[in-house]
């Protein structure tokens, strides 16, 4: 049964297992430093016939299919699917879920979606109402560009603080039992932070305070310190946001996380070789990195305790144009190898 620990953390006393996970990525990600880790690598971002939205949806579908296939389960075994993406009304997830016939809850947590989905899936399983829960998140460079920025063929220069939306999807399955599998031991839903950032080209700066808030709450509630973790993994703060997070943690909380901190947005690309400005972003960023590299390492016992904190910028193109601030959130999932 899930029990509250401290003020915000929730301890999952049965520690449900991540019984399977899978990832699917596009061209640029498949050429990045983590290329070998992904299950499905496409050589083009045009993954299927049709629109970019359907390409993204297909990525999510592929990740789900693969996650089920890897553990020999079928969609019929699943009791709930939590999924989300960046597109209006979460269409990438909806269209991917359409063919599965699994009871579906669409989520919007911007780039924090994978952590949110994994947290809810683990909660559902731990409380006993759900036997097998699926969590999935996706994003696509081309569908995000057309919705949030400019047409693909528009000629322009990007600011160095901007981030590249990852073309990728990740899916994981949570169930009660499972031997020698990574387990979700605690989850924490974040609180919204708003520090007055309005620059949509600097999402890392908008999201860093939310990550700091969640990490601080988590450490405090669980009476732990950064050294207790092998890895504190943020979702997509990128280079600028990661620097800010470490600085905020030191100046405000006197806590130095730099020895154990890494960021999926910095891991998925090679900034020297690939034209990605401050790093990767999007729901698919941490989804594809966690559902490949990180969970593999946890399964192999190369990592023992990971705090996965995915951040999301909760704005829309409309509110950004209206000059509103960019509120941000960060959800935490503690994954252990017990």
């Amino acid at each position: 049964m899930p029990v509250r620990e401290g003020r915000y953390a929730i301890k999952l006393s049965d520690a449900p297992a991540v019984i399977s996970f899978a990832s699917a990525v596009g061209k640029t990600e498949g050429e990045g430093p983590l290329a070998e880790e992904f299950d499905i690598r496409h050589t083009t971002d045009k993954i299927c016939e049709g629109t970019w939205e359907m390409c993204e949806s297909r990525l999510a579908e592929e990740a789900l299919e693969k996650a089920f296939a890897k553990c020999g389960r079928t969609y019929e075994d699943a009791d709930i699917l939590f999924a989300g993406d960046l597109l209006n009304q979460c269409v990438a997830s909806t269209f991917a879920a359409r063919g599965t016939d699994i009871p579906y809850a669409g989520l919007f947590g911007a780039c924090s979606t994978m952590a949110l989905a994994a947290a809810l899936a683990a909660l559902c399983v731990d409380c006993g109402a759900v036997r097998l829960a699926a969590a999935c998140a996706s994003s696509h460079f081309c569908s995000a560009e057309r919705q949030f920025r400019f047409p693909l063929e528009y000629g322009g220069q990007k600011t160095p603080t901007a981030q590249r939306t990852v073309t990728g999807a990740g899916a994981l399955l949570v169930a009660k039992s499972g031997k020698d599998l990574p387990r979700i031991t605690r989850v924490m839903l974040g609180r919204i932070r708003d520090q007055g950032i309005t620059d949509a080209n600097n999402m890392g700066a908008a999201m860093a305070p939310a990550a700091a808030c969640t990490i601080i709450d988590f450490l405090r509630d669980t009476n732990s310190s950064p050294e207790d973790f092998d890895l504190i993994l943020t979702g997509d703060l990128g280079k600028v946001g990661s620097e800010l997070l470490r600085e905020v943690m030191i100046t405000r909380e006197q806590t130095d996380i730099s020895a154990v901190h890494n960021d999926c947005g910095m891991m998925i690309y090679d900034p020297e070789r690939q034209d990605v400005c401050s790093g990767g972003s999007g729901c698919g960023c941490s989804a594809s990195v966690v559902c490949s590299h990180i969970l593999k390492k946890l399964s192999r016992g190369e990592l023992h305790r990971v705090l996965y904190v995915a951040t999301g910028a909760l704005m829309s193109p409309t509110t950004a144009q209206q000059g509103e601030n960019i509120p941000a959130i960060a959800h935490a999932v503690e994954i252990c190898n017990i």
Binding site: L152, G196, T251
Partner: protein, 151 residues
């Protein structure tokens, strides 16, 4: 309504320090060189059309038309974006930038249909330039009329 959070001054300063600025000098130099090349190319076209026997009025129409068509083709082939990434303002300030800003959304939003996609979205980027360009021309016309013609 909930009030907007004011800017956190300490965090704002931290953000400014951590965020690398655009390489303004380098970008300006690249824009200067590539913009200059576009202008030289246009001048070559100007002389070329003159040699073909077009009069000055016709040449002044033919040169921008050529640049617009070339931009449209380059945009369609997916090359303009790559050039503009290097050139920046060197390609966006001349008429090439305007042409690209019409062609690129027209291509992008084809998937939403001819009317609500291509037709409606074609001017999302260029529309403001047209609207304010025409407004500025009207204001200038009024000033010219009252102070120069009648004044």
């Amino acid at each position: 309504m909930q009030k907007k959070t004011p800017v956190d001054a300490a965090y704002d300063a931290m953000t400014k320090r951590a965020s690398p600025p655009s390489e303004k000098g380098k970008n300006a130099l690249k824009a200067f060189l590539s913009g200059g090349l576009v202008c030289c190319f246009a001048q070559l076209l100007f002389d070329f059309y003159g040699m073909l026997g077009l009069n000055e009025k016709e040449v002044k129409a033919a040169v921008p038309i050529t640049l617009i068509v070339l931009t449209a083709i380059l945009t369609g082939l997916g090359l303009f974006g790559k050039l503009a990434k290097f050139a920046g303002a060197g390609l966006s300030v001349p008429i090439t930038g305007f042409a690209n800003s019409v062609v690129s959304p027209a291509m992008e939003f084809q998937t939403e249909g001819r009317v609500l996609g291509t037709g409606a979205k074609m001017f999302t980027l260029a529309g403001p330039v047209i609207a304010y360009g025409c407004s500025a021309a009207a204001v200038y016309g009024l000033i010219y009329y009252f102070f120069i013609v009648r004044g």
